[in-house]
Symmetry: C2
Subunit: 114 residues, 2 copies
DNA sequence: CTGAATCCCTACCGATACTG
DNA sequence: CAGTATCGGTAGGGATTCAG
């Protein structure tokens, strides 16, 4: 714990938070919160996401150790499941809280023009 | 509350979360968590942020009702303080939790190449 | 001190088409 | 079904300069 300062320019934690700073990371993590999903299920679940971004973001989250990819062998057509790792699961609670806050204040939070 | 579905394509909440999805929003909110800061204090606090992005992001957060701008009159040179609104303060707790998780797992979370 | 203005670049992202 | 490949637009962001 000790010397980590998120306000420091080169703080690795700052980079780590990029798992949710993108457009889709947060949504994917929450989509997988309850149960593992197949690729196409995930795409259908998250309205507006393209297959390209689903694939790309999943790969990124996997590389960060947040998501695990599980292939069901001998299945035709192939089945690939995605699920949160224990590490990824830790993010669910605070992210859910953020969403709740945003929901509660959905009227106040709107961008006020001029 | 009721019908808000974050997985729906046009969910306003999804947009609202853009206050933290950028590169600087989360850091600014946490920097202002303890006390209000002047513009240059904020820039110095958050390592690596440019004046341009500080100004731009603050304006954005202000428009969203998360940050309030307070000008001290009759001060020369001018003093401008930024502070969280009650709405903004709600985000502090979950965001702190995210940072803590990222800190705890700073080694595991690193992007794994190949 | 507190920004606004400009320039420019890149990374992100959407759309579409294609593959095993 | 589960992706990859390619193309191109756009918004995010850095560097620098200027202004009240």
């Amino acid at each position: 714990m000790q010397d980590i300062d998120i306000f420091s320019k080169d703080c690795p934690t700052r980079f780590n938070l990029s798992v949710i700073s993108g457009k889709w990371g947060l949504l994917i993590i929450l989509a997988l919160a309850d149960r593992s999903l197949r690729f196409s299920e995930l795409v259908r679940t998250i309205g507006g996401i393209s297959e390209r971004m689903a694939s790309q973001t999943l790969k990124y989250l996997e590389r960060c150790g947040v998501v695990r990819r599980r292939v069901v062998q001998h299945a035709k057509p192939p089945q690939v499941y995605y699920e949160l790792t224990p590490l990824g699961r830790q993010f669910v609670a605070p992210l859910s809280q953020l969403v709740e806050i945003a929901n509660r204040n959905v009227d106040a939070l709107i961008y006020h023009h001029d």
